[in-house]
């Protein structure tokens, strides 16, 4: 029987210790789940195992044989296959071509498209799947893309199969089907490693569960000993605190969504018939796994994305004063090669030195300096480039810019992802303060802890549909 030993692996990125002396054993015939919050080091761990990242120290042994480190191609030839969290399909190549690419042993070999199409089809049939082999990958439905991704990356000789958050973009039915196929793989004696942060999934499929927190292995438990409570405690650490003071009940009217439907980038239906109301002074949390319409919802509410049907109103108006803290500050929040004061100015219409078009720099600079101090941004000055700041400080710049305009409505998407504890606390308390000042806040987050800490009520998004409000505090502190 095959097994895989991870022996005291450590890996740091700059000052961040992503993995600290992690040792684990994965056995054949078992589905072994590695559980942890975002940033806990799960993806780093599996990237190291699959050879995409070279660890700073430690080794990996498979059946007494040491695996090469940092050489994905060799690792793959030794039977370690990885299915990535983000699809690695080339969108303009056909399904069969993508499959062929995944199984190329060397660049010099010839490619016979017919043969590969047939091979893909027969392997799909083995799994009871169907795949349109000649279709462009981008034209396949998401569920089929995921199956193609699996067949692309897993060879018939693969003995160790790594799945990095495979259900992130799937609907509930698709997820269930996928998890079933994990059992199918483990039943044939292979080592199956599942990266996840969803407790229910892990409990439904795993035999063995290991939990990572901040790069450290907290523990490994057998499925029979695992409950959602002890796993949650292992993942989250100390139970969260509750700061939110319930303000008076008769809050004035705020954001109102009436059966809103939104299309995603691939013209798929990302949000379906969603209705929601957020009063001023209220924080409503939206939980759930990435890719279930969170991104599209945040863009629809902020007006960045057009809605397909339904209505979004704020106290009867269309255009409230809006703050938007997007999900990826580097990609969406900031213009990194511009200075801090310029970044703080993006979207500012007038006031503080901004006149109808031209800019009074003296006034703007001192305004920017004050703002940076107020939001505790660690920078030398307002003329620093945004790219020179750390992630936490970059996020504070975004928060400063957005909250400075005294918004009536705040939309935040994973506002603390990747931040350290202090920066996260600061961002959360800023949101709380803004809501106490009368803003309606829509907080979309995959971090249950965060939702429990600041939200008044929490809904979950699953496949673009909103659940009934859940008692999040009960869920986390059970």
């Amino acid at each position: 029987m095959k097994s895989l030993d991870v022996r005291s692996i450590s890996k740091a990125f700059g000052a961040t210790q992503a993995l600290q002396n992690v040792s684990l054993t994965f056995k054949g015939g078992e589905v072994h789940a590695v559980l942890g919050e975002n940033g806990a080091g799960k993806s780093t761990l599996v990237s190291v195992i699959a050879g995409f990242l070279k660890p700073d120290s430690g080794s990996i042994v498979s059946d007494g044989e040491e695996l090469p480190l940092g050489q994905p191609h060799l690792t793959r030839q030794m039977g370690v296959a990885m299915v990535h969290q983000h699809f690695t399909l080339a969108p303009s190549l056909s399904a069969a071509e993508n499959y062929t690419l995944g199984h190329l042993t060397k660049l010099g070999c010839l490619v016979n498209p017919r043969k590969k199409e047939a091979e893909l089809k027969s392997r799909a049939t083995e799994m009871n799947w169907s795949i349109s082999a000649r279709e462009k990958a981008s034209a396949l439905p998401v569920g089929m893309q995921q199956r193609l991704e699996i067949l692309k990356n897993i060879g018939s000789n693969s003995e160790v199969l790594i799945f990095d958050e495979p259900t992130a973009v799937l609907t509930q039915d698709e997820s269930a089907e996928l998890l079933q196929s994990l059992r199918h793989f483990s039943a044939s004696g292979k080592v199956v490693i599942l990266i996840a942060h969803k407790l229910s999934e892990v409990l439904s499929v795993a035999d063995q569960i290991s939990v990572l927190r901040k790069g450290v292995l907290i523990g490994s438990v057998n499925r029979s000993e695992a409950t959602s409570e002890n796993l949650a405690e292992m993942m989250l650490g100390e139970p969260p605190r509750f700061d939110k003071v319930q303000t008076e009940l008769n809050l004035s009217e705020g954001l109102r969504l009436d059966s809103v439907s939104v299309l995603g980038d691939a013209k798929n239906r990302a949000i379906t018939n969603l209705s929601l109301e957020i009063r001023r002074g209220e924080i409503v949390g939206i939980g759930g796994v990435d890719g279930n319409g969170q991104y599209e919802l945040s863009e629809a509410v902020t007006g960045v994305r057009k809605i397909k049907s339904g209505q979004i109103r704020f106290a009867g108006k269309i255009n409230p004063v809006l703050a938007y803290i997007p999900g990826d500050r580097r990609a969406e929040g900031l213009a990194l090669s511009l200075t801090l004061w310029e970044n703080l100015l993006i979207g500012k219409k007038r006031g503080d030195g901004v006149h109808d078009g031209y800019l009074n720099l003296k006034v703007i600079r001192s305004w920017a300096r004050n703002l940076l101090t107020k939001f505790q941004v660690k920078a030398l000055g307002e003329r620093d480039l945004a790219s020179s700041l750390s992630g936490g400080n970059q996020q504070k710049v975004v928060v400063a810019r957005e909250l400075d305009r005294n918004p009536e409505l705040i939309v935040a998407l994973n506002p603390t992802r990747g931040l350290d504890i202090k920066a996260s606390e600061f961002v959360r308390s800023s949101l709380l303060k803004a809501s106490n000042d009368g803003a309606a806040v829509l907080l979309i987050s995959t971090d249950l802890d965060e939702l429990a800490e600041v939200a008044d009520r929490v809904h979950f998004l699953q496949g673009g549909r909103l659940s009934e409000p859940s008692d999040i505090k009960a869920m986390v502190s059970q």
């Binding site: 990885m82 690419l101 190329l104 010099g108």
Partner: protein, 295 residues
């Protein structure tokens, strides 16, 4: 219809071939995600060093020496270009601009230094032709199916197409996108050198300053016009050569269409094709985007 006789088509081949060579190489580079604005400079370098080769090794193998020197020089330029665009993640347009200037400056300065001011016309040995075909045009006819085969029937071709479409797709399969792109860039340089050398040894039998006169840019446009398919690119090049020769024949028959306007048709055609289809629908998705440097 005498204009489109077989003979007249064959007669245009020497004019179409330089651009066709360069365009074929450029299509492979673009499929891997590299847009080589410096193609013009690489062709010019190929042309000049073909001249150098033939004058350095006069005699039986002068033409062969010319082709060898021309392609080697162009490949060296492609190496410089690839170091910047692929390994240093520099902007491809910026580097391409610099490569063009470098080639123009180098070839002109060296030419003036070694062959006197541009006034003196040089006559060079050229390729032997039978029935309008020479060894290189025949080689081109072979290169066409070969490049198709390379791109669509080998692992390397599949991998560069993945690299140009979505680099993580190639990386996750264990192939280095940098290496793939470097290889494609070198092929592009080689073909551009061949095209430039052919311009000297097959088309004009002489060298003049800046003699490529936009043919490299034209080749880039051809790739788009030919929608990244080798055979389409070759056809487009032939079509272009035909239009070029059409103007003289039209003048002879007394039809008054400006030759200049006629010559702008292919560019206009390319622009119209692109605006109707949108580049996005055919172009490699990651064309012109430098790799994100990840550790």
């Amino acid at each position: 219809m005498s204009i489109l006789s077989v003979r007249s088509i064959i007669a245009t081949i020497p004019y179409a071939a330089p651009v066709a060579f360069a365009g074929l190489g450029e299509s492979i580079g673009q499929l891997s995600g590299l847009i080589n604005v410096g193609l013009e400079g690489m062709m010019l370098t190929g042309a000049y060093f073909a001249l150098v080769g033939t004058t350095l090794f006069p005699g039986h193998f002068a033409v062969e020496a010319g082709f060898a020197c021309g392609t080697i020089a162009a490949v060296l330029l492609a190496v410089i270009s690839a170091i910047f665009t692929v390994w240093l993640n520099a902007d491809q347009v910026v580097v391409g601009t610099a490569v063009n200037l470098l080639a123009l400056g180098l070839t002109t300065t060296l030419f003036r230094d070694h062959y006197g001011q541009s006034g003196s016309l040089i006559s060079l040995p050229s390729l032997h032709r039978t029935f309008g075909f020479d060894a290189l045009t025949i080689a081109f006819l072979l290169l066409l199916p070969m490049s198709w085969f390379l791109v669509y029937r080998t692992g390397w071709g599949l991998a560069i197409r993945a690299a140009g479409d979505y680099p993580p797709a190639a990386e996750s399969a264990g192939f280095s996108v940098r290496r793939l792109r470097t290889g494609a860039a070198l092929i592009g340089g080689f073909m551009a050198g061949l095209g430039g050398a052919y311009l000297v040894l097959g088309t004009t039998a002489t060298f003049t300053e800046n003699m490529t006169a936009g043919r490299g840019f034209l080749a880039i446009a051809l790739v788009t016009f030919g929608r990244w398919k080798p055979s389409w690119i070759a056809l487009a090049a032939l079509f272009l050569g035909l239009l070029d020769s059409l103007q003289y024949q039209l003048q002879a028959t007394g039809i008054h269409i400006s030759a200049y306007l006629l010559q702008s048709l292919p560019y206009l055609g390319a622009l119209i094709v692109l605006s109707i289809a949108g580049t996005g629908s055919f172009a490699p998705k990651s064309l012109g985007i430098p790799l994100k440097s990840h550790e």
